[in-house]
Structures are given as C-alpha cells and as structure tokens.
C-alpha cells in the first residue's frame, strides 16, 4: 500500500468513485495502520487530518442559540397540542359511530326478542294490515258507488233522459225503425231501474248495475247511434248520445265494484 492510497483512505475516499468501491475490508484497515507505523510522513499527515477533524467537529457541532431552540420548543408544543386535540376528535367520531352501532344492535335484538316471544306477532300485524287495507278499499268502493250513483241519477233527472228516450221511440216508430224503437224502449226500462237504485244498499245496487252491464244495453245503444246517417236530425243524435253516455257510466260503476 503506497502513501497516496493511504492518504486517500484517510481523507475519506477509499477508492476512485467509478465504479463505487466496496466498504473497506479488515485487510485494508490493517494495511493502513501498518503503513502509518512505518511511514513518518503519512503518520504526520494522519495526525494533521485528525486535528483538522477536531476543528471541523468543534465548528460544526456548536449547539444553536438557546433562544431559537426555545422558540422551536414552544412552536412544537402548540403543534403537538393541536395534533392531540385532532386525535381526540377522531376518537370521538369513532365513539359516536360505535354508540350508533350499539343502538342499532339493541333495536335489532329487541325486535328479534319480540318476534321470539310472540311468534305470530308479525303475521297478525300483516293480516291486520291486509284486513284493514281490504276494508278500506271496500269502504272506498262503496263510497265511490254511492256517490257515483247519486250523480248519475241527478244527471238523468236534470237532463230528462226518460223524456228523451220516449221521444226517440216516437221518432223510430215514425221512421219505421223497429229495431231502433226496441233499443230505445229497453234503454228507457234500464234508465228507470237506475233511477230506482238506492245508494244506501250498495250490494243491491251493484247487483242491478251488473245486470244492466250483462244485458249489453250500452253496446246496443252505441250500435244504433253509429248506424244512423250523418244527416239524421240533430235532436235524434243528441238523445242517442245522452243515452249512450248515461248507460256507459252505469256500466262503469258496475265495473268499479
């Protein structure tokens, strides 16, 4: 090992940079120590470097000004306090979530216990609801029938549909239209039945309305109306329109039931 190598070693650079040298081995360290014992110049060089290191260490390891360090500590205290407060908030959120989960679990357990102690509780509940639902629908249906029937009867009276239907019979008779006259007579008969219905007895009313629907009088009036010529007298067409509309609503009430 020559002086140049030893001095490079002592200065901190054990070998050329490229390629990077491996860490110094034991053999190299022993070689340097032996060389230093034999070479006075290198020993002096090593001593000078050591003195230089001490000066550098002394200059570069001086502690910072106490005032600055105290400022760092004060600032750090504040930031750590904030950090801990933030951690606390984070934990509070976790606790709140845990409490909410516990409440839900208790509610669930309570519900299961209730079902367990009263096995048909759920079914009762459903059947009650179903019954009340059906009852409600029936009541609503009855209300609809009664009110619809009342409105229909009122309209028949105000528009004097029975008179209209009698006029239609006369017109058909004069025209020699036996079929038309027969339809008008049947329609008058059914309208009279409608007028006779009592909304306070919905079952009975429904039954009669169903009979009117089954008789198909509405369709027969419609057919007559469609069969008459466009140049037929306006009162004839208006009377047929009114009869068809009234019977159609009666059929609708029967369907609603």
């Amino acid at each position: 090992m020559n002086c140049e190598e030893v001095q490079l070693h002592l200065e901190g650079c054990g070998a050329p940079l490229t390629p990077p040298s491996p860490p110094w081995g034991e053999g190299r360290v022993r070689g340097v120590a032996e060389h230093l014992r034999q070479c006075a110049a290198c020993a002096e060089y090593a001593a000078r470097l050591a003195a230089e290191n001490r000066v550098l260490a002394e200059a570069l390891s001086q502690p910072p000004a106490e005032e600055r360090w105290q400022r760092v500590k004060a600032g750090l205290e504040e930031r750590m306090a904030l950090e801990l407060a933030w951690r606390g908030r984070r934990h509070r959120a976790v606790w709140a979530m845990a409490a909410a989960a516990a409440v839900f679990l208790c509610l669930g357990a309570g519900f299961l216990a209730y079902r367990h102690l009263k096995p048909d509780a759920g079914n009762e509940l459903v059947s009650d609801k179903a019954t009340s639902g059906v009852g409600g629908q029936v009541r609503a249906g009855q209300d609809t029938l009664a009110s619809g029937l009342a409105r229909l009867q009122e309209e028949v009276r105000t528009k004097q549909l029975l008179d209209e239907l009698e006029q239609l019979q006369v017109l058909f008779r004069d025209a020699g239209d036996a079929d038309g006259r027969s339809v008008a007579e049947d329609a008058e008969l059914y309208v009279e039945r409608i007028l006779a219905l009592d909304g306070s007895h919905p079952d009975q009313a429904s039954e009669i309305l169903a009979g009117i629907k089954a008789a198909g009088i509405h369709q027969r009036v419609q057919k007559v109306r469609e069969s008459i010529a466009d140049d037929a007298p306006a009162p004839l067409r208006a009377s047929l329109e009114l009869a068809a509309s009234t019977l159609g609503r009666a059929v609708f009430l029967a369907s609603e039931k």
Binding site: L10, G12, S21, V29, V72
Partner: protein, 201 residues
C-alpha cells in the same frame, strides 16, 4: 482506518452524550404514549436537529423545519426500531423534510425562485465565533450533497454507513463527497488559521 482516525474524538464525545439505555427507556415509554418521555427525547436531541437544519441554510426557516421534523417524529414514534440510534432517526426525518421543502420551492415559478434565492437565508444564525463564521462561508460554497455529508459527519458525528442510510446513497459516494468537501474546507481553515494563531482552537 480513516473513519476510525477521524471519528475517534467524535465517537467518544458522542457516546458520552447518548446514554443509550436511558434513551431506549424513554423511547419505549414514548411509544407507549408517555408525553413526558417524548419531551425528554426532544430535549436530548432536538438541538442537534435544529443545528443541522440551521447550517444547511437555504431559503428555508430552520425553526419551522425543525418543528416539522419533531412533529413527524411524534407522529411516527411507534415505527422507530428500539435499540437503533434515535438521533440518526431524527436526522433522517430532518433530511427528508428538507428535501421535500426544496422540492416544494422548485414548484414555485422560476421567477419567484430567483427572488427567493437572493433573499438571505432566514435560518442563518447570527453572530458566532470567528471559526464558525468562516466555516459558514465555507459551507455555503459547498454543493447541497457535500454540505449534508459534512454536517452529518462532523456536526453530528455519524458514521459513513449511517450517513449513507440517511441520504440513501452508497458509502463510497459518502466518502467521495466528504473528500471533495474537505478540499474546500481545508482552504477555509488555512485562511482562518493564520489570523487566529494562539486562539487555542
């Protein structure tokens, strides 16, 4: 042997300061949530962190970076491997905090950066002895990587291996940087020495 020769004085002084067993106890207590133990660790090693960041200089506030370093340590104390060198760990955090600060500054527009570069370093400690002042000017002449190695080696007494771990480089690279930096600092020392003969340093 270079390391042994150079570090003999530093190593002895440093070992005297470390109180390893006491430090390990404090670390374990701090990891268990003992705030006072962490404060004691900060008191033991915080000045070294601030000193390193002050001497690194640049357009950064060393006090802010030191606070950031110690706060990071507080957050990550659980990840510290007990039995290893706590100060080296703190200096690793400080080194990375500064690297991130440099990157953030680079993100600033070039014009702003030029302005920042001309602003006197806010962390430069005022005053100091003649040697310190001379050394500060010498450090300012060094590139960032060489300055880091010099400060960790002579300022903090870390070994080449520890410095290599902190800076995430090879040991050979650390030695090379140290060699280059020493050339500059020797000039500073030579210029300083003739005017301070008999000063005792």
């Amino acid at each position: 042997m270079g390391e042994q020769v150079g570090a003999s004085g530093l190593g002895a002084a440093r070992k005297a300061q470390r109180h390893e067993s006491r430090e390990d106890e404090l670390v374990r207590a701090a990891q268990g949530g003992d705030r006072e133990a962490f404060d004691a660790l900060v008191e033991m090693h915080g000045r070294a962190v601030l000193g390193y960041l002050e001497r690194m200089g640049g357009p950064f506030d060393a006090e802010d970076l030191a606070q950031e370093t110690l706060l990071q340590a507080f957050r990550r104390i659980g990840t510290f491997a007990t039995g290893t060198d706590f100060r080296a760990w703190l200096l690793t955090i400080a080194y990375h905090a500064r690297v991130h600060a440099v990157r953030r500054k680079r993100a600033v527009a070039a014009q702003d950066y030029a302005v920042l570069a001309n602003v006197p370093a806010p962390s430069a400690p005022a005053g100091g002895t003649g040697l310190e002042a001379a050394m500060r000017s010498g450090l300012e002449a060094l590139p960032e990587d060489q300055k880091t190695v010099v400060l960790l080696r002579f300022g903090q007494g870390l070994s080449h291996a520890e410095i290599a771990r902190i800076t995430e480089t090879e040991e050979a690279t650390v030695r090379w940087r140290l060699y280059r930096a020493r050339r500059v600092l020797q000039k500073v020392l030579k210029e300083w020495a003739p005017t301070n003969k008999g000063s005792g340093t």
